[in-house]
Amino acid sequence: MNEKKKLIPCPSYDIAAIESWLKDMAAEGLLLKENGLGNLIAVFEKGEAKTMTYRFEPSAYILRSDEVLDEANRLAKNDFLEEAGWKNLGIYRSYILYCHEGNAELHTESEIEAPLRYEAARARSIAMLETLVWVVLIVSVFYRRCMSLLIQTGSVILLIAAVFAVLSVFSGIAECVRLYVSSSRLEKGIPFEHEKDWKKHSRFYRAFRIVRLIAVGIACAAVFASLGDEGGAGRIHISECQEDPPFLTVQDLDPQAEYKVDTWLEEFHPRINTVRRWSDPLSIDNWIWQEISTLDTADHHWSAAMNITYYDTEYEFVSKQLFKEYERDVKMNADEPITLSGADEITAAVNQDGFIHLVFRKGKKTVYASLNVANAAEGIDMTAEAAQRLIDSVH
């Protein structure tokens, strides 16, 4: 193979450092291939060691001022530079990367180069800020879903991976700050500094990038495993569970209940009537029991279902967080509080149809239940008494 791949040792927004790194690579006989510069990896061709100059020129499409070049002019500029011996190596972020054999400069007058770079930096900052606003909006909208997904999926590794994944957002902020500083310098007439020393923080960036890549990979794998066909890794149907659960199930409360759900319900909620028992010491939950039952006579939709979700977690803080998450659901679904006892934390309420919604936490265990009077078979009273029996059954 005449090809070599290398991890880029500097942040992708620090184009001056990348220019310098590419020059050093060429001096070692590694010449960047056309379109070979990716976000993380650069692809080189092994060849004769030589002096090369690499320069990032702001791409015309991001320039919005009167310097803006239309499509015809953009191509004309490219032709112009190629005629002068500069080879176009492809687009990288908002720049076009050119190279020239030997020492050369694309720009020889900082007064001409500065407005172009200033405009490019400003356009890039605006784009980054727009992205950040979107990220904040998306996170705020999906925060609850993400938090419960993280906890339900969860292991300590996944939580750490998520932290690193979030750090990707901070690299966007760092890019904005860097661009703002460089554009301010340009505005003051300080020339753009090409070929900056790339070795200064290269170890840190390389390690950070590797860790972040692995973390994002783990986070994706864990989420994928959690959302798998069977409702997540290690889940089995409740009817296949050999162990006798240490709490009252829906069937204990209502012997006539059947584990029967509509097809659409199973399709959209693959965790229904599944149980997962982890023996993995890194997992934050040891036992998740998610059960919904409907009767033949019921209408087979959520409002007619009865469910119990039981979490036995490894850490108390996870249990507390789960309680908080489900407490919001209880308060949203029912408004008349009822008094129950026998747990560290309890929130329970009845809605206007007489359904009891409750969540309680006993140490590392959290249980969320919705006891539906419509589900109760004849002679079975699905009232606060049943809720209290459920609380007392958990040890």
């Binding site: 190629e82 005629e83 002068a84 500069w86 407005p115």
Partner: protein
């Protein structure tokens, strides 16, 4: 701050107009003419040259004469020539001032002595 108007030309601007004031030239020829005229003291990078040519075209100081493949040839306009001449005169006056500064100092010294 970068200069925004074309009233005072930068070195590169002045030399590009200078080269085009003699004859029609393409981009590469402009670079070569300037480099050889100034013994490579003034070298213009292609991106700088292209940006300046675009500005000159927009301001009506030069015009495109022909396009042959990648090669575009430019010619200076009447207005471009006026700007070039004005800048040449301005620079000539600067040079004249520089030459007169020694006489000025001498005269000033003599005036102060005569006052005593």
């Amino acid at each position: 701050m970068p200069r925004k108007s074309m009233q005072i030309l930068t070195d590169s601007m002045f030399y590009i107009l200078m080269a085009l004031s003699v004859k029609e030239l393409c981009g590469q020829d402009i670079t070569d003419v300037i480099a050889s005229l100034t013994d490579r003291r003034i070298e213009i990078g292609p991106a700088t040259l292209y940006t300046l040519l675009s500005k000159f075209l927009k301001e009506g100081m030069i015009e495109e004469v022909s396009v042959q493949g990648r090669k575009r040839t430019y010619r200076i306009t009447e207005y471009g020539l006026e700007v070039y001449q004005a800048e040449k005169e301005r620079l000539a006056m600067c040079l004249k001032d520089a030459e007169r500064i020694a006489d000025y100092e001498r005269k000033k010294e003599a005036d102060s002595l005569s006052f005593i």
